[in-house]
Symmetry: C2
Subunit: 451 residues, 2 copies
């Protein structure tokens, strides 16, 4: 942990690779954690990476591969033969990780890799897991866990556990099943360590076990793990038969992806991208919302065009279009963000009309505050006539209230319809508020100024 990964380290490593000095290269890496190796890997040339992967112990290579970003891993996998992938990497991986890597291969290569696996039980488990959708409990679970029969006594259980745990890095929970493999409960290691050896497991295990069905959505699994503070959760099929377990580290990844997705949606980015993706990928993720925003802007232009009389008589009204528009946008984003987040973390419990009424009051309060300040500026700074100032302020309050209620209503509506409310934030709200805002502004002007 005391080795610093800097430019000197990387250039020394590159030298070793160029000179094919495998001994020195190995020595440089041996004390590093795979996650640390994976961190600087993308800074090396692809050939250098592949040289190091072949150099490292299989267990370490496999762990490094898993820690890489998907794009980087895919490039590296293309350089490896099915035999190398199977024997050096997949064999060393837990079934859930193995499935993730195999899913990234082409169909043909996938089959070749599976055929090359020597441990037939491991291969069978992998094939089983490949059936499940990536974003379900089945797609997240692993087959590595310890399972005991309720009819065993402590001494048999410990012996069986030792046998089963041989290939496991660590054991946190022991699952108790009956003869039909139906999940009955869990047994804590602590209890096993502290009970006399002839006691039957039946008398020891905890029947209150949380579990999920294999078809459950991964985000729902994440909610259960969070709610009950679990380290892992067993996965069962329709007949309650134990199929696998999901550990909290995989759930952390689900949570992070979900948070990133919501954040990106709020910012008007339609697919998961990173700063280091290609310009083309980034454009595909960003252009859709820019185009929708553009049409919103063109609609606003049409609306203003429809009120050309204003341009003649009260051109000062046009000065305040940006103010109306940006205020409507900001209010709308705030309202929708609070609802989206409330739906996600379960703090929204009341009825819809109550939430809307609250947003109405909130909009009125904020709107009046802002309108008073704007009144001051429009009068003293821009010298706007009283009636025009009044128009601007009434429009501002109205726009804020409407933007706040739209921002509240749309995510609630989407959620009721079973759609992801997060898509309604960001540019969606901004664009619709651009159009509404400008329209309301000029309608109120028309009514109050009577042109």
């Amino acid at each position: 942990m005391s080795i610093e990964i800097n430019k000197d380290f990387l250039s020394a490593l590159a030298d070793c690779i160029r000179e094919q000095n495998s001994k020195s290269a190995h020595e440089m890496l041996v004390d590093l954690h795979p996650a640390d190796i994976a961190e600087f890997f993308p800074q090396l040339e692809l050939e250098e990476q592949s040289y190091l992967i072949s150099l490292l112990d299989n267990e370490v290579s496999a762990a490094v591969m898993l820690e890489l970003e998907e794009d980087d891993r895919k490039k590296l996998l293309r350089l490896l033969s099915p035999k190398e992938i199977a024997e050096d990497l997949i064999t060393e991986m837990d079934t859930d990780d193995a499935v993730d890597v195999i899913s990234e291969l082409s169909e043909a290569k996938k089959d070749e890799v599976i055929a090359q696996l020597e441990d037939k039980e491991h291969a069978q488990d992998i094939v089983d897991l490949l059936r499940y959708d990536e974003d379900t409990a089945g797609g997240l679970m692993r087959k590595e866990f310890v399972k005991v029969n309720k009819n065993w006594n402590v001494i048999t259980a410990v012996r069986e556990m030792r046998r089963q745990a041989e290939d496991l890095e660590e054991v946190y929970s022991i699952y108790v099943v009956n003869d039909d493999n139906e999940l009955l409960g869990t047994l804590s290691l602590k209890k096993l360590l502290t009970t006399s050896s002839s006691t039957k497991l039946e008398e020891l295990y905890n029947k209150n076990v949380h579990y999920v069905k294999a078809g459950a959505n991964d985000e729902d699994v994440a909610k259960i793990i969070q709610k009950y503070d679990l380290m892992e959760i067993p996965v069962v099929d329709e007949l309650m038969r134990l199929q696998g377990i999901i550990t909290v580290d995989d759930i952390i990844d689900v949570m992070r992806e979900e948070a990133e997705e919501d954040y990106q949606l709020a910012a008007g980015i339609t697919r998961n991208v990173d700063a280091d993706d290609s310009i083309w990928t980034l454009t595909k993720a960003r252009l859709p919302w820019l185009l929708i925003g553009m049409f919103g802007g063109l609609c606003a232009a049409s609306i203003i065009n429809g009120f050309t009389v204003v341009l003649e008589k009260y051109k000062v009204l046009l000065l305040f279009v940006p103010l109306i528009q940006s205020t409507a946008g900001n209010v709308g984003i705030q309202s929708s963000a609070i609802i989206v987040q409330g739906l996600a973390n379960g703090t929204i419990k009341g009825e819809v009309w109550k939430l809307l009424w609250k947003e109405f009051l909130l909009g009125l309060l904020n709107g009046l505050g802002i309108a008073i300040i704007v009144l001051f500026f429009s009068h003293f700074w821009f010298g706007t006539p009283y009636l025009v100032s009044a128009t601007i302020c009434v429009a501002l309050v109205t726009v804020i209230i409407i933007a706040a209620t739209i921002g509240t209503f749309i995510p609630l509506f989407l959620s009721k319809r079973g759609l992801d409310p997060a898509v309604s934030t960001g540019p969606f709200i901004t664009t619709s508020n651009d159009i509404f805002g400008v329209f309301i502004y000029f309608m109120i002007a028309k009514m109050l100024l009577g042109f």
Copy 2:
């Protein structure tokens, strides 16, 4: 797990409470998980909640209290005497949770509660933990863990472990220290179960242990836990002496809060609020950005006002102000969101000028695409003269490029300065782009149309 919490259940429960039928009320709750009880608790009256807390077993009451939202818990705590809080609740809590609850009490009540604690060791641990800042490793850690001396053999370790684990719900890791309490490594329960009893721990333990200092920032601890897929991490003081452990469930809460905070900042909400907070709290969180947005709008009005000649000669230019403004806003938010997220998940590695150059190209590409469509509409729909159409398009491309580079630069700049880049998203970018966008638009108009 099969009991459904619905209106019928709640009204039946309320009936039991009204009739002071403690037996039936207890029966209704006995099979529920504390997290499930906490979920419907806020729907009951405060007196009903307090009645149930006194009715439930202390262990369950304590767990329910911990699962409540902070606001709800505070209200309930006010109804309880220091003696009740100490004996019924704090005694049943792990030290880290106990500290969280005690921190929510008034200074006077805090001392009374601590004085009432009968288990002096527990009280001492709590007082120790109260010294640490809430958002540091010390503020997250608990004192409940199992610690063994490297000089012990397996049989002594198992005996000691049983003694220490008596009050622990579950044991995942065993920490190995020397005579000075310095952290040396970890011992897996699995190894303890599978090694002969006379072996010295010195020969068994794993020296590669990840740890954090007590003063470490909680978000940094979360990063380490995620990077190395840990279930828990030990906390040491400056002299490497083992002080406590942090478990992954507490880190999940840190991650969720962090994600919520970033999301809210992007939506222009300045403090952590929920949909069910009071209108006053929500206003305090929302008004600051609305006011800043308002000043941005007034600045934009001033800028337009400075170009009044345009209003006379090319009033059609004003139609496209909303388009320019919303496009600049959308581009800016997209760019900054990608950088903020990249900084958070570590995908930003290149140099600043490379990122800016990429955004420049991206802005150019997206800008040209959008400009061509706008050109079409402005010509055929609005009948804008060629030169004015050209002005709009050149302005659009320029504004998009500048918005993209500003959106990229500001979060990078804030991050270099050690500030949270997330504050630069949302309204900050929108407001600055409102002003820049309008200014650039009219400047280009002035140059091209020569007024």
